[in-house]
């Protein structure tokens, strides 16, 4: 337990110390929020869907978690050659603990980051239906964070060099974001797109956060939670397996 705790603490400490990085990583979500949120707002309203800012804020929160947690997982690739990870791999502790400590640390950082974005959304004019639901929203955020931190671990353990990183960004992370319904409603989509969005775990995450925060949902809150939890268990197992296979 102490081992998991100290590895978790390490990730969080490192994050809190890197002030510039915190500010830099807030840049792109704020841009999406500001430019798209206000830019597409009038059209969205004309289409009779209400406030676009209200609609997309949960999506931007989901996006922040996606990017932050995936990065922390993929950073493993770097960490195992030049960083601290190698030190943990020769320590007399089960790799599973190391993987759990690291993944939870990455997930925690992603949640903190998402809360910062939540505050930004609030300042921009986003209003949740009530503040009582915040713990429930936090639960969904945690689920999203664990899903993608685990996915990042799977990828970070499997990649051989940094070249693969760009590939993952372009063909996995960006599609996951754009297919998630973070930016558009899932109703009346073309068949292919509708199918793809259903295969994307982030879709259920964003839908879950949205249903909690603004009371709009596509799949229903229970379905969202069940799918996310299922995917989380699956990816955590895959991550643990890939992580146990790392040879340096």
């Amino acid at each position: 337990m102490t081992v998991i705790y100290i590895l978790w603490l390490r990730e969080v400490k490192k994050y809190l110390r890197s002030r510039t990085q915190i500010i830099a990583s807030l840049g792109s979500p704020i841009m999406y929020l500001g430019v798209l949120g206000f830019g597409l707002g009038p059209i969205f309203r004309k289409a009779g869907e209400g406030s676009y800012l209200q609609f997309m804020a949960p999506g931007v929160i989901g996006m922040t978690i996606l990017f932050t947690s995936m990065f922390s997982g993929i950073a493993l690739l770097w960490d195992r050659q030049f960083g601290f990870l190698k030190e943990t791999l020769v320590a007399p502790v089960p790799r599973l603990w190391i993987m759990i400590g690291r993944t939870l640390g990455g997930a925690t950082v992603a949640i903190i980051q998402a809360l910062l974005i939540f505050v930004c959304c609030f300042i921009a004019g986003f209003r949740p239906v009530s503040f009582v639901v915040l713990p429930l929203a936090l639960l969904f955020m945690a689920l999203i964070a664990i899903v993608f931190a685990a996915l990042g671990t799977v990828i970070g353990s499997s990649l051989k060099d940094m070249q693969g990183f760009q590939l993952v960004m372009n063909f996995l992370v960006m599609p996951i974001f754009f297919l998630s319904g973070a930016l558009y409603p899932l109703t009346n989509l073309p068949k292919v797109l509708a199918l793809l969005t259903r295969l994307d775990p982030l879709t259920y995450g964003v839908d879950g956060v949205r249903s909690v925060l603004i009371g709009v949902t596509h799949f229903g809150i229970t379905a969202d939670a069940v799918v996310l939890a299922g995917v989380a268990i699956l990816l955590l197992s895959a991550g643990a397996w890939r992580f146990s296979k790392i040879e340096i």
Binding site: T2, K13, Q81, E87, A91
Partner: protein, 261 residues
């Protein structure tokens, strides 16, 4: 302390370690010398449980690293060729995490960390982030950390690479005195002949994955009728330059170097 018998490691077509056998005695400083790509690091990785051998047997303090993995891990400390410190943490925090990972009780952990940091002349900088440290300081911290859990064997894989003569000299003085006072067995690899000559009691020369000669520096010189260890080394391994093809680790190493500046 360490016994390696008929050890083989293949990566696909490539045979990195080709049927080597040797022994390292308790309390000894043992050096592994060899050109690039000779199989030094691969052997260390197998002894430190990071790689599984293709065939052959390994023994460290009477235990098999492929079977009693965690027991073996408690018995050695290691400094890898590439840095493995957490640069965004302080020297003290790096020591703390290591102690927790190795299950050293809190009181003992603090005492040992304190005395080791003092010994390696890092005590004043214990609360500074590692990224503000010079190359020599980082190496010293890595060695201090590797010794925190009182290991019986210390592996040093090219620990002086990229250090200036002052840091190298100081580092070996520390390692030598530790070996004498605490009886820590030291297994090191290096490219610098003078270092091996100075600190190691016995030297194994390895080339193309095979041990070509083993013995004290004097014995090696005598066997090849040469004056210096460097000449003996060249007589045994030839003068051809080994052009290793770059691995993915090499290309990452290059990027790392770029970032550090």
């Amino acid at each position: 302390m360490i016994r390696v018998t008929n050890l083989v490691k293949r990566f696909g077509e490539l045979t990195a370690v080709d049927n080597i056998s040797f022994e390292v005695h308790r309390g000894e400083i043992f050096a592994f010398l060899g050109p690039n790509g000779a199989g030094k690091t691969t052997t260390i990785k197998m002894l430190t449980t990071l790689l599984k051998p293709t065939s052959g047997s390994l023994e460290l303090d009477g235990l098999d690293p492929t079977v009693n993995r965690d027991e073996v891990r408690k018995r050695f400390g290691v400094v890898f060729q590439d840095p493995s410190l957490d640069q965004d943490l302080t020297a003290w925090e790096n020591m703390e995490i290591h102690g927790v990972l190795y299950g050293v009780p809190r009181k003992e952990r603090r005492e040992r960390a304190t005395s080791l940091l003092q010994l390696f002349e890092l005590w004043e900088r214990r609360d500074a982030l590692v990224k503000t440290f010079s190359g020599g300081m980082r190496r010293r911290l890595e060695i201090a950390r590797g010794l925190l859990h009182t290991p019986k064997v210390l592996f040093l894989d090219e620990p002086t690479l990229g250090l200036d003569p002052q840091s190298r000299n100081q580092m070996w003085t520390h390692v030598k005195s530790l070996n004498e006072t605490d009886q820590v067995t030291v297994f090191l690899t290096t490219h610098y002949m003078d270092e091996a000559d100075r600190v190691a009691q016995r030297i194994a020369i390895i080339d193309h994955g095979r041990v070509v000669a083993i013995g004290s520096s004097a014995e090696l010189k005598e066997r090849t009728s040469t004056q210096s260890l460097e000449d003996a080394f060249l007589a045994l391994t030839g003068t051809t330059i080994r052009d290793e093809s770059a691995s993915s680790a090499d290309s990452m190493r290059q990027i790392a170097r770029m970032w550090r500046r």
